[in-house]
Amino acid sequence: MEKLTILCIDDQRDVLAALRKDLESLNEFCRFEFCESADEAEEVLDELDAEVIPLAVIVCDHIMPGKNGVEFLIEFNGDARFEHTRKFLLTGMATHDDTITAINQAQINHYIEKPWEKEQILEVVKILITEFVMSVGMEYQSYLSILHQQTLYKYLRT
């Protein structure tokens, strides 16, 4: 089984650390990349692509110095290398307009406002992983225990 990558972007180190702790239970099936800025994330994306590592989910903050989260995700959305990767905006503050842009132009798959709850974020990430695995057409059986069941049923019904 190939480990799925989850890329977390947030300018605050402590937020990244908290995220890592909450997502720790996915360790057996996932590997994590942490970035403190959109620019850094872009470097990591190039590396992932070069090493052909599947990137399942991006968890991205919005307000960051340099390129903000929505801008980054809009660009990312157009990146053909990662067309199946699921996008998830996790933010402390995004205006109504930012959110609309994120949905329309970056086509984010999920949006959560900080502070988050562990159960909540785990569930969302699981849903997104399931969608990724199924839409890429990976062998879902190997990831069964971290997949979101209801989402899986939808894919398996047909």
Partner: protein
């Protein structure tokens, strides 16, 4: 009918009917021309000065019925409606002169057959039209004022709310931060008794937290992965701990185990570190919001000695100022009318900024220089530091809310400090300005006496 035609018509009427010197009146300010409810059979034309109409049950000056100025008629309704009863009391607002006609007025029509009313009609209608317009204008202005008032009230209640929220939040934050440090201490103690290795990693975590950037960790992890043939996860953990070279790593076969264990302890410590920082962050945010809300109150509640308020600010900041030399040059100053808390707030923000700049840059022999001088109409107070200063292109932005260059770590900022200063000083009718070059940054404040 346009204005010009009207003016011509008016001129004609004045010439024909209001030129009789016997039918003129001079009034002084406050004289009553017409009384509400009294009989009136005259039509007045204002030649000079202005009048206001008071309705009995309206006292508010804003609500005056109309204002008659030069070339306007008074008594139109009672004269033409034939009821002859005045609907309002008309009072001279200043010294005035009016001309009038009465019902006995002879018709002096140039054209045959035009009645007096017919001759006056166009001009009077225009007059009424103007009055209506003015009325509308007043209503509009009134609404505008109301809106402003409403905004002000909203702001005030926002301030109150902010203060309320701040209070509640502070309680919660206090609990979080107190418990975090308590746990930090005692969890450490318990480990200490049991396991020396554990306490070391725990302390490393709790003292510095995650000191490496995500990029450094990635690079480091790759190197470690190659060096020790670790799996990716273990390499990342080892990189995160950032083990100093003094600690000897166990042999390869125990390495994975060792890393997992130590990383847990380290992570435990780092969590406390993060908790403390986050609590500090939160209370700073609350403080600033509170100050911002209070800053807009503008209440001056006493004579404040500037000297004292500066001293108070310095005491508040005494601990970060330990490594910085402070020079003071304050001349005899008169007290000013202000809120002391607010002034202290301003000084603290300015000094804190200077400290931040000096510390971040690691300036050699850092110094803050504060001076104050009285002038004819104002007091001038300067805060100077020998830090690296503010870039030219940023100097215009530093007073904007949210502008900050302190985005990370312990000395993060909200960019509200100077905004608060500017508001408070502005409320006192003062000014704040900045001049900066590397080695010399001066914030100068002028407060009116």
């Amino acid at each position: 009918m346009n204005k010009k035609q009207n003016e011509e018509g008016l001129k004609r009427l004045v010439a024909t009917y209001f030129s009789d010197p016997a039918k003129r009146l001079k009034l002084e300010k406050g004289d009553v021309l017409l009384e509400e409810g009294a009989v009136n059979d005259r039509l007045y034309l204002v030649l000079q000065g202005s009048f206001i109409a008071n309705n009995e049950n309206i006292e508010d000056e804003q609500q005056q019925l109309f204002l008659a100025t030069k070339d306007m008629f008074i008594g139109v309704i009672s004269f033409f409606s034939r009821s002859s009863i005045c609907v309002a009391t008309i009072v001279a607002k200043e010294d005035c002169e009016v001309a009038f006609i009465d019902h006995n007025q002879r018709n002096k029509a140039e054209k045959e057959g035009l009645s007096l009313i017919e001759q006056f009609m166009p001009v009077v209608v225009f007059d009424l039209f103007q009055r209506q317009q003015r009325e509308q204008q007043i209503i509009f202005e009134k609404e505008h004022t109301l809106e402003k008032l409403y905004q002000a009230k909203k702001l005030a209640s926002l301030g109150q709310m902010a203060a309320g929220i701040a209070h509640e939040l502070n309680n919660a934050i206090a609990v979080v931060s107190r418990n975090a440090s308590w746990l930090n201490e005692h969890v450490g103690e318990m480990f200490l008794q049991e396991n020396e290795e554990a306490i070391r990693f725990f302390q490393m975590g709790s003292e510095t937290g995650q000191s490496l950037s995500s990029r450094e960790i990635r690079v480091q992890a790759k190197a470690l992965q190659n060096k020790y043939d670790l799996d990716e996860d273990a390499a990342r953990k080892l990189a995160e701990i950032n083990v100093p070279s003094t600690i000897k790593l166990p042999p390869l076969e125990q390495l994975n185990d060792f890393i997992n264990r130590s990383h847990r302890y380290w992570e435990l410590g780092a969590s406390f570190h993060d908790l403390n920082i986050a609590a500090k962050h939160a209370s700073h945010v609350v403080g600033s919001v509170k100050a911002l809300a209070a800053g807009s109150s503008g209440i001056h509640n006493g004579h404040v000695s500037i000297q004292e308020s500066i001293d108070e600010a310095l005491t508040l900041l005494s601990s970060p100022l330990r490594t910085i030399s402070v020079r003071l040059k304050i001349r005899e100053l008169p007290d000013i009318l202000a809120n002391k808390g607010e002034l202290v707030q301003v000084w603290t923000n300015l000094i804190k900024n200077a400290i931040d700049s000096l510390k971040q840059s690691g300036t050699e022999s850092p110094e803050v220089y504060i001076s104050a001088k009285p002038r004819a109409t104002y007091v001038s107070i300067r805060f100077q530091d020998n830090g690296p200063g503010i870039a030219k292109e940023e100097q215009g932005k530093i007073f904007q809310p949210n502008f900050t260059t302190k985005e990370k770590g312990l000395d993060f900022g909200l960019g509200l400090g100077l905004t608060i200063c500017e508001r408070i000083i502005g409320n006192y009718g003062g000014e704040i300005s900045v001049k900066s070059r590397p080695g010399k940054t001066v914030f100068k404040i002028k407060l009116p006496l």
